[in-house]
Amino acid sequence: MLKIENLKKYFPVKAGFIFERTVAYIKAVDDISLEIKENETYGLVGESGCGKTTAGKTVIRLLDPTDGKIVFDGVDIAKLKEKDLKPFRTKMQIVFQDPMSSLNPRMTIGDMLSEPLLFHGIAKNKKEAEKIIGGLLEEVGLKAYHVDRYPHQFSGGQRQRIAIARAISVKPSLIVLDEPTSALDVSVQAQIINLLKRIQEELHAAYIFISHNLAVVRFISDRVGIMYLGRIVEEGDVDQVFENPMHPYTKALLQAAPVPDPRKKRERTMLIGGSPNVINRPNGCFFNPRCKYRMKICEQEYPEFVEVENGHKVACFLYNK
């Protein structure tokens, strides 16, 4: 359904006061390839700033890719012009990480939700839109009387559910979910995840699920990709990756996950060194300055992304001899 090949998104870094010029690039997404089938959830995990949101936005063409292919239902949409993209717009939706910034502060929830319904002809008139919206709000656990309120009158978790309602309202076939449950308590989180699963069955939609909550990623994803500095360093079925993590970064991540027990303290010194610098990435394997298994070759070459077991790929010299 969705096939991404060698996708790149670079942001120029400018300098100079009078004559601005590009002095370097932030390679936010640097050569990512992945495939998602309908009905499948691809979990995307990785350090803050490694390029997950940029990847998600580029895939649905909210950002123009620097290079690469995005094959959506058999069509490469990577280079399509805005007017040719229109038929794809309803099919691809995103729930943003920062719900407040994606909701128009001057629009009521009702207006915000009815706009896309009317625009894309999903509802014929206001009345029909209202009915659909009532159902949607109910589904995400809000009330029909909430339609007349403005975003600032809601709690963080309520706003996140409004963003989810808006994304599913147009019945898309691909949804990028960027931290969709981070502002929710565990009970509502469970409810929303169950809802997302149910909608997926209904629409046969594919999800790209970005989250720092490894427990949630483990639960909802079929496959996961671990990103580090713009590249995917490990990928596989969710159980393969969580039960048999291979890349030293994946291992560190899993070990750093906090556990709900006040008597257990997690290992906080797991990752030596500060967060990496996106502009001056290290030579060789990007993870090498922090890796305790570092070998000579790791400082010279970038490891190839190879399949180690069925469908389980990793970019690390420990597995690539």
Partner: protein, 347 residues
């Protein structure tokens, strides 16, 4: 040296209401806790249970049609009586007095980092402005402090980041900038509303470490709101559990995790998803969430509670101190039964 025994902040039966066309939203309706120097209190509870409104009330950031309807927020400070710290009631301060408290003595990291950053200004401008407003430093010193704080929150390449606009940062980077701003004035109380949800687990660990070291160094007290119970288990000394605008249980962190009594606390702990095991389903707490619009004066957990009795439908239970420092909002005769059921290992 601050007095270790006397709380720096005491919140007593706080009530904050919003008047809406459909009726009164009792967002906060009976919240009590206190905070001593050096302490970290975790606030947990359902989405919409009033956590953010509670802390916004402490910052006096409630605007009409909202109002603090009842209760006290006592803060110990020498801002108005130099050298001689005294309790002032924040609910009664003038706006002018409040600007001397906000940001300087009590600062806050908001849930939505974008709302506290101005999209039109660079990170540098915003940090320098805040620092110069609260501390007696010139622009160069303020820039030094800003840089040092960005280093402390582990922003890679901070010199360059200072020149960036908020949209050029990733979600987690923005969050760290906001934390850096809040910490740059060495507040006595730091309020952090979901400060680490946008961060991956390794950066999260670093930020928590940073908060802990600041707390040791400056005796900062912290109010920490998060849905991540694993984080609460890691950082908090005590925990207040909220439901439907009310404090329903309040105790030290070990008691909350090991011997919780309130039925809501028990249900909450039962739905934590885990990384270390494969789960086939996640179970939300069954039943309807509480009504907070024109809420009836009964226990908010009533519609979902398996232990409810006739009395629960008629009266509102108060906070009962079941053992020193452990408070539960439920009726005494029921608490006794809950005691047996939770200690008997059935839950």
């Amino acid at each position: 040296m601050p007095d270790r025994k006397e709380p720096i902040l005491i919140v007593e039966n706080l009530k904050t209401y919003f008047e809406q066309a459909e009726g009164t939203v009792k967002a906060v309706d009976g919240v009590s806790f206190d905070l001593k120097p050096d302490e970290v209190i975790g606030i947990v509870g359902e989405t919409g249970s009033g956590k953010s409104v509670t802390v916004k009330s402490i910052m006096r950031l409630i605007y009409p049609p909202g109002r603090i309807a009842d209760g006290k927020i006592l803060f110990k400070t020498d801002e108005f009586s130099p050298g001689n710290p005294q309790y002032v009631d924040i609910t009664k301060l003038s706006e002018e007095q409040m600007t001397r408290i906000r940001g300087k003595h009590i600062s806050m990291v908001f849930q939505d980092p974008m709302t506290s950053l101005n999209p039109m200004f660079t990170i540098e401008d915003q940090m320098i402005e805040t620092i110069m407003f609260h501390r007696k430093v010139d622009e160069n010193q303020a820039r030094e402090i800003a840089l040092e704080m960005l280093h402390k929150v582990k922003i890679p390449d901070p010199e360059r980041r200072l020149k960036d606009y908020p949209f050029q940062l990733s979600g987690g980077q923005r969050q760290r900038v906001v934390i850096a701003i809040a910490l740059s004035c060495n507040p006595e109380v730091l309020i952090a509303d979901e400060p680490t949800t946008a961060l991956d687990v390794t950066v999260q660990a670093q930020i928590l470490e940073l908060m802990e070291s600041l707390q040791k160094e400056f005796h900062t007290s912290i109010i920490f709101i998060t849905h991540d119970l694993a984080v609460i288990a890691e950082v908090a000394n005590k925990v207040m559990v909220m439901y439907g605008g009310k404090t329903v249980e309040y105790a030290d962190v070990f008691t909350i995790f090991e011997n919780p009594i309130h039925p809501y606390t028990n249900s909450l702990l039962n739905c934590i998803p885990r990384v270390d095991v494969k789960q086939d389903s996640l179970s939300p707490i069954p039943g309807q969430p509480p009504v907070i619009l024109n809420a009836p004066p009964v226990c908010p957990f009533l519609p979902r509670c398996n232990f409810r009795t006739k009395r629960c439908e008629e009266e509102l239970p108060g906070l009962v101190e079941v053992s020193p420092g452990h408070y539960v909002r439920c009726f005494e005769e029921i608490i006794e039964k809950l005691f047996v059921s939770t200690r008997g290992g059935q839950k």
